[in-house]
Point group: D2
Chain length 426, copies 4
Amino acid sequence: MSTETGRSRRDLRRELHRHPEPAWCEFYTTARVVEECRRIGVDELHVGPDAIDAGARMAVPDEDTLAEWYERALADGADEAVLAQLRGGHTGAIAVLERGDGPTVGLRVDIDALQIREADTDDHRPADEGFRSDHEGYMHACGHDGHTTIGLGVLEAVADSDFQGTLKVVFQPAEERVGGGRAVAESGHLDDVDYLYAVHLGLDHPSGEVVAGIDDFLAVSHVLAEFEGESAHAGAHPEQGRNAVQAMAAAIQNLYAIPRHEDGATRVNAGRAGGGTATNIVPEEAFVEGEVRGETTELMHYMKDHAERVIQSAAEMHDCEVTLSTEGQAPSARSDQPLVDAFAAEAADVDGVDRVVERDALGGSEDATYLMKRVQEHGGLACYVCVGTDHPGGHHTPTFDVDEESLAVGIDALTRSIQRVAAQRP
Amino acid sequence: MSTETGRSRRDLRRELHRHPEPAWCEFYTTARVVEECRRIGVDELHVGPDAIDAGARMAVPDEDTLAEWYERALADGADEAVLAQLRGGHTGAIAVLERGDGPTVGLRVDIDALQIREADTDDHRPADEGFRSDHEGYMHACGHDGHTTIGLGVLEAVADSDFQGTLKVVFQPAEERVGGGRAVAESGHLDDVDYLYAVHLGLDHPSGEVVAGIDDFLAVSHVLAEFEGESAHAGAHPEQGRNAVQAMAAAIQNLYAIPRHEDGATRVNAGRAGGGTATNIVPEEAFVEGEVRGETTELMHYMKDHAERVIQSAAEMHDCEVTLSTEGQAPSARSDQPLVDAFAAEAADVDGVDRVVERDALGGSEDATYLMKRVQEHGGLACYVCVGTDHPGGHHTPTFDVDEESLAVGIDALTRSIQRVAAQRP
Amino acid sequence: MSTETGRSRRDLRRELHRHPEPAWCEFYTTARVVEECRRIGVDELHVGPDAIDAGARMAVPDEDTLAEWYERALADGADEAVLAQLRGGHTGAIAVLERGDGPTVGLRVDIDALQIREADTDDHRPADEGFRSDHEGYMHACGHDGHTTIGLGVLEAVADSDFQGTLKVVFQPAEERVGGGRAVAESGHLDDVDYLYAVHLGLDHPSGEVVAGIDDFLAVSHVLAEFEGESAHAGAHPEQGRNAVQAMAAAIQNLYAIPRHEDGATRVNAGRAGGGTATNIVPEEAFVEGEVRGETTELMHYMKDHAERVIQSAAEMHDCEVTLSTEGQAPSARSDQPLVDAFAAEAADVDGVDRVVERDALGGSEDATYLMKRVQEHGGLACYVCVGTDHPGGHHTPTFDVDEESLAVGIDALTRSIQRVAAQRP
Amino acid sequence: MSTETGRSRRDLRRELHRHPEPAWCEFYTTARVVEECRRIGVDELHVGPDAIDAGARMAVPDEDTLAEWYERALADGADEAVLAQLRGGHTGAIAVLERGDGPTVGLRVDIDALQIREADTDDHRPADEGFRSDHEGYMHACGHDGHTTIGLGVLEAVADSDFQGTLKVVFQPAEERVGGGRAVAESGHLDDVDYLYAVHLGLDHPSGEVVAGIDDFLAVSHVLAEFEGESAHAGAHPEQGRNAVQAMAAAIQNLYAIPRHEDGATRVNAGRAGGGTATNIVPEEAFVEGEVRGETTELMHYMKDHAERVIQSAAEMHDCEVTLSTEGQAPSARSDQPLVDAFAAEAADVDGVDRVVERDALGGSEDATYLMKRVQEHGGLACYVCVGTDHPGGHHTPTFDVDEESLAVGIDALTRSIQRVAAQRP
């Protein structure tokens, strides 16, 4: 890899870092990805609505939010023709290289950012070196700017190589809300993929370390319950109210009390809740936005079924209506051994790698699992790898940053692994 | 009144005091009432199933309990032929005197006792003078032995007078469980009553004082909720259970939280609750036995509707079934002024009365209200009076007793009032 | 009353209507009141911190809010010297007329507005005639603009009369949050008042009707509970969290379940509640902002004591801390008969009054009760009167408005009543 | 083993089966064990209070229950002198054989029975062959009659062998309530034990199968919470009550809602709960009897700490007092590999064994873990083995029975294992 290439990768990552966009608002990012893919030269490019099953999107923000980010992207100089394709929150892209006979290999990277205000102190490199977030209150605090850069880097490296087969690089939106994985999976684009890699930077592994197989994804579902009752003056006519805050409280108490399960770990959290307008008004509206998780997809569904029943009954108990919606979801998944072996073998030879961990647990959730499951259900193999990077602050904190040297490590290790599995059909 | 009569009344009251019988088990008491009515000579006598609408009874005990008290009555020498009519918990009687043209006047007394162990110390007169309860654990702790005696005394006094019209004396079972009033009301026997009096001794009024109109009966309903879930080993298979104790707890918490009502006082109490069998078993069964009250019948129904919805939803919330039953009920009622006036006027002239209170509040519940409402709905008037009596212990306590001098006061005041209203149609 | 006076009153009321200010932000209003008092000519004028006990204020907004409204008042042309006295939310004023020997009579009016967006349709007179709120989102939707005008009108009328004695007109801030009454009461300015009137427009009484004695103020207390726990990742480390939302839910459920009280009506409402930041984070913070009420001050304190214990225990139950603050409070009170009689007698002769109601119930809360209690405790008499006014929308709704003809009715009836009680010492 | 021995073992097991005794009431059983130990001839015999730390007993029944079972044992002909030592619920025994130099080996068996009514149909062998429980309502439904027989059989077999070292056979009371293990462990008798075996029959393993190492004991603690409030008439004086049933309900709801833990499985169950006396009385007393479990002892304590805080806070919330007591407890434990290996090796050669499972999970709780931990903490090794037996009904059901052929299998396998570990110090 030439220094030139290294510099341009760093520049690209920093440009993306300056333009963090939340779920389904990755207008600028998608437009830039498309531009880069065209520069590299690909055989097919599925953009926005062509890359996803739009009806399967979850956690799509409201029209006003979508319009606001669209305008920002336009103002920041994103390609107007591409943007037009993405209208209404249809972001993301899939780039395809067709290089003759051979297996179809997939690589999935995610592209969205978080609603976190980035640190602005001098010891935070993006602030110090001038590539801190342009969008105050939003930040690439989980490294997806790096992931996007790696995805483009692998695409370019494979394009320049003697790779035989088909490569599909997926630039997936809305991972942070576990809202995009299903839409990509249900697009069908991965149904012919034989081997799928997904990649994440960091995860508390330092620069120089890689993990060949990440497992123990907790299946997760985000649920929004909106209670509607009827307001009344709490002093004068308490009996005329139908109290949505009482329904909310009964729901919360009983959500946490869903029975534990012998088959493994379960989780539940009423992460956000609220309701009411004034001390003297019986609350008409309230909500709970929470999540359930399970060590397996079945356990997550066990929790979800119970949660929905608890919420419905809490509403009925206080004579309220409730609307339930799934705001995000992801199954659990497991990395397949042959792909783990291939990555471990290749990564060991990559410059800058000094330790290869075979497997490690995530213990959190990720909607790459939708893509992994889809591939596995169609007879393919899937594997989620981690490329260590020194990160000063933890993931999802204002001082998160990546060691830019790790970008090359990720690109090289993945490019080699993709070539290896395409060549020898593990 | 001759001393002879006074003595026999005292003897009768003491005999009844020795034979306290709970709701729908007043076999001995009913048989003795029938015997006395026959001695007095009445024109009609409706006994047991003929005095009540059997299907409208509430709080009927199980067959074993009924059979046990039936056997006790038999063993205590009650008339076997009368008992045979009462089988299956069909107790109570209505005695009718027909004395030519004139209004139909009713008098209601209640005849049942409580599950309380009577005091056995020397300062408790029934213990000291040998008429303490023969049925250990049961006691006439609310004066219904006196009420029954008054009912028979009035019947005899009116029979011996120049009264013109019809008198119906109701000996009502199961007042303590508010389980008998509805069955008498729905028998229809009171539908032609023009003026109805009901009477209670004591109520914290001393000997010498009477109250001409008792009001502010809280309407009440007793509700039994029986939850059924599914048991499971709590350590090995917690998810296989459907937890009736969780349903019970959710119900209790939310029952007390039914909104207050602008129209007046409401009450709720989960007076008894329980469930489960062992620490390591997810509870399959649980129950709540409680009550709701309201300052008006409407307020009671407001509470009852809410309570039933809370209980149903709590069951659903924990995937349990629930069976709801009404174990007792009584509306609220108000004493009509003309009857209050009549009683006040006559009572003032009765020997032993030194103070007449026009009206006072009960603040509790009583199912005489079913009878009062029935009469009022058919165009008649109704009034609930109180005859003060020095009672050493409070109502429903082991040291309750009545001043036997009050029996004559009650008989005289009621007899005079009945004659007055029959004569002048207030 | 000259037409001239009538027009200037209307203009003043409309000017105040255009400048609605919330609790403790009545900077413009106070400055205008001061200006008017000076024009009328008073003997003493207590402004801002001199009119209140600053430490007894409740529901004071944060510094930023105070500063923002201060700047608005300045921009709107309020007297800079007066404003300087009010800094930091020390609003309100007390004007004193000393007219020789005689009783001290007080009149209390309130001056604050509500956070409601005023209607802007043509059928809403303030919109149609150009005096709709200048402060979008805030509105005089309870008539305090009229009350302030009446207070100044009475001051001027009494000043121009042969009144003998002392008159104190209180312009009280922060009534809508029941946050200002205590601060005025504890200032001590009313301790020598012999007769106190307070006045309200409307209350569903039409133009032409007055009520001489308003009663049945529910005592009220506004409570804010802020729970603090500890956040944690809900999937990875659920046990590391201390869940403020669980504490909040347990508090809400049990607040509504505080036992009812035999002595009279009680109320409780968790009017606003909320907490948490994200679905996957165990919530660190949550709050409940609610109120308790009682038919008497004692009943309110019964509810408040229970509420505080419930909230404290709910916090402990989930290992959280909680900070409790009283955001507003008012006792109950009763209008004294001699003042009711005086107002009834005088109002009957006022032009435009066609019906005098002796007494009516408020059924809500008002912190004039603090002033009434203070006067009564110091041996004086107090009375709360209502001047009916046709109001198209209900109190606290966007279409509320007053019939400006009622202003003169209120001024005349109060002026005459004040003169009467000063003259004859009722 | 002679047929003679086999027959007498079967007779002994059947005699014990006819005399099931619950926790700390094993008077007859202990007396018979002592008698048998004396017949066999032991070097030391610790009986009752000498075998346990009396202050460390848990789940000891009340005096009346202890006295009743003491009298039954006396009536059934148990040795009066031995019984006198056991008074007050000090049951159990430890028999010691000293056979020269060599390691100290321990064997623990449990001796108590369950409160279950034994089946009385012909297809239940104990009923058919005349050794069904003499104590109606109590039953050896978990095979402890067999365990006791095995303990005595091993004692006799080792006594008759050339074993070198010390053997301690522990006959432990109160396992079914996890109430006895701690008392034996804290007696100190096991502190010098180098190798400890514990044994259980059945556990769903058929005759012919043995398990060399049972693991995954869930640590458990049984907690009894007794709430005390104050009664009041629910209609007349609801505010005078302090409602123990409300405290109970709040505790139950929040007990189930203790946060899950990342380190492994946890459990909680409010297995029994109840309170109150009558529908119209605010409940004065209530209780929750429940349990918490954890995959590790630490997890159990995490749950227990939370449970205790929840219960205390629920009591405070409703102004009640609460008394908390630990009614039984057991840590988790793991079988040591060397003892697993030794048992697996020897059992394979035992007559009647056709399958040796190396390890299996219990998934429930057992207080042998107290003894295992104690030995392991003092540097020894411990192992829990299972001897399969065809059991017609499940453990803790009325039709449970053991295949008596398994007794010899257990005795032989354990005797050989004890000799092996004594000989070669694994």
